[in-house]
Symmetry: C2
Subunit: 324 residues, 2 copies
């Protein structure tokens, strides 16, 4: 299991490579929430999401000989970009397995970051079988998106930064709201704060109809989503909390918070207007919880992790059209 020690070790490996992203605020957001709101802007991380941290952490933790053979990831989104950029910086061969119907721009960007992209057909190919064959044949190491100790450790460095950045502002007691898919980031932050800011309470935040973590925490056992498609919050749609992440979430987190798609879009428009940052819908879920679900929170301060900003112009424009 990932430990606080592993998070500190990941922070050492990330030093000088990941960005210390700012903790932003606006009196206009405080007024909406009825309390102080701080926003950890991980959309400003390399490749536009916190995933760079986990990718770097996992890669840099590999024995050099194993790393030299290369790594593999399945993703059409932020995890792919994060692993690809981290691998390029380590001069490590990287294969990203992507569905052939992924947006052309995402495929092009992943290639531009130096990755070899292998496409598969969602309907007719078995992704895991293709991955296993590639891994075995070429000696690649699979880097899973969340249920992997060193990935969780890397994401946990966000929590270390939240603790000391908040303390600099005089904040030690807070609700920490985290956009949650499989729970790697949420678990990592919760482990970091357990040591460095024990008066902070972490809440996973999810889009409606994809609230597997909220239900799992409420029931005490892993619950699944019926689908992993059909929300604009595509970055955080996963089937269920992970085998490694769930026990951590269960031990350390407060109740989950569920927001609507419209609340996520509204939070994107407010982040544009008041913080001047670009959020994708899945990256705005925690801010939406802070702004529109304050009745479910107790603390004097809400710290929302803005997890990613990789969004198409059309989706962003729609958020501004509805709520700008």
């Amino acid at each position: 299991m990932t430990s606080f020690h592993a998070i500190k070790a990941a922070a050492d490996r990330l030093k000088g490579h990941s960005r210390l992203t700012p903790l932003l605020s606006s009196p206009f957001l405080d007024e909406i929430a009825g309390r102080q709101v701080l926003v950890k802007a991980e959309c400003l991380q390399h490749t536009g999401s916190f995933k760079f941290r986990g990718g770097w952490s996992a890669l840099s933790a590999l024995p050099a000989e194993q790393r030299t053979r290369g790594v593999l990831a399945y993703s059409s989104g932020n995890h792919a970009q994060g692993v690809a950029a981290a691998a390029a910086a380590h001069d490590t061969p990287v294969v990203i397995l992507m569905p052939e119907d992924a947006p052309a721009i995402k495929i092009a960007n992943t290639r531009a970051l130096g990755a070899e992209v292998v496409l598969f057909n969602r309907a007719t190919d078995n992704r895991d079988a293709i991955g296993a064959e590639l891994a075995e044949g070429r000696g690649l190491t699979l880097i899973k998106p969340y249920d992997e100790a060193e990935v969780i450790a890397g994401q946990g460095t966000v929590g270390l930064e939240i603790a000391f950045q908040a303390k600099d502002l005089g904040v030690t007691e807070a609700d920490v709201l985290v956009c949650c898919g499989g729970g790697g980031l949420t678990a990592g932050i919760a482990l970091a704060l357990e040591q460095d800011a024990p008066q902070m309470c972490v809440h996973p935040c999810e889009p409606e109809h994809f609230d597997d973590v909220t239900r799992s925490l409420a029931s005490g056992k892993i619950c699944h989503n019926i689908s992993t498609a059909g929300s604009i919050c595509d970055a955080i749609l996963t089937p269920a909390p992970g085998e490694i992440t769930f026990p951590i979430l269960s031990r350390l987190c407060g109740p989950g918070i569920v927001v609507t798609e419209n609340e996520a879009l509204h939070a994107m428009a407010l982040a544009f207007l008041r913080l001047r940052i670009v959020l994708e819908p899945g990256g705005a879920v925690a801010l939406a919880a802070a702004l529109f679900h304050a009745d479910q929170l107790d603390g004097p301060t809400s710290i929302a992790v803005a997890t990613g900003g990789n969004v198409d112009a059309t989706v962003f424009t729609e958020a501004l059209r509805r709520f700008g």
Copy 2:
């Protein structure tokens, strides 16, 4: 004249109050420019622009007794917000003189920041006479937007940060591109870098048809713009470089760079896509110069100051529609 010492003193007064804004980058922007591009994201500063620094610096430099009586600023834009927020934090009364045809949202925002807004009619009122009467009658101190030593000192703290943040990345030799109106920020940065990063060369950047600083530098004497309206880059339209700023610019800066409105809009769209920050047109001029005018630059690295992000959704959407 503002000195390096005054900038360091302003930095001490700003410590814990202004944000250390990040120095961002993207391999995709490097590729467009054909060299390394770093972006100092002052759009993430309090109130969405660097103006907060100058406002805070000027206010905090006043004798307490004078500050208590209050301050006055003329502006419908970023300077007004910066001074208003700095004054609120100092518990100082602040009057902002704004044209009555200013956008309602800007008037509302300035009031929400705690300022008393006095409206005047551009056609029939004499702004300076109203301001002088207010200042005399109520003992208010006028804080000018750029031609004021402590304002320049405050803006110069951006230069101190650029020097040490770039050094952390191994960069000591660079062209530093600054969106330039009256020259307060550009002068302050140039003074800071003269001491802290002498191998960096500052270039003022302006929109076409409003290139007073570029022409002034080329001719060696202050030149005026024909108009101060009619560009989407409204944040940086001023009649001419200042009496205090011009000698500094003249002594320390390289040639100015002039960009088109379309280049500024294109830079906004690329900042959205590659850096996940929101820029206003006037705040994107330096990035446009870095990306599209690299042929006018010598250094291995271009550092563009992204000065502000206060932009209407309609203008932002138009940038994405054309270039997203």
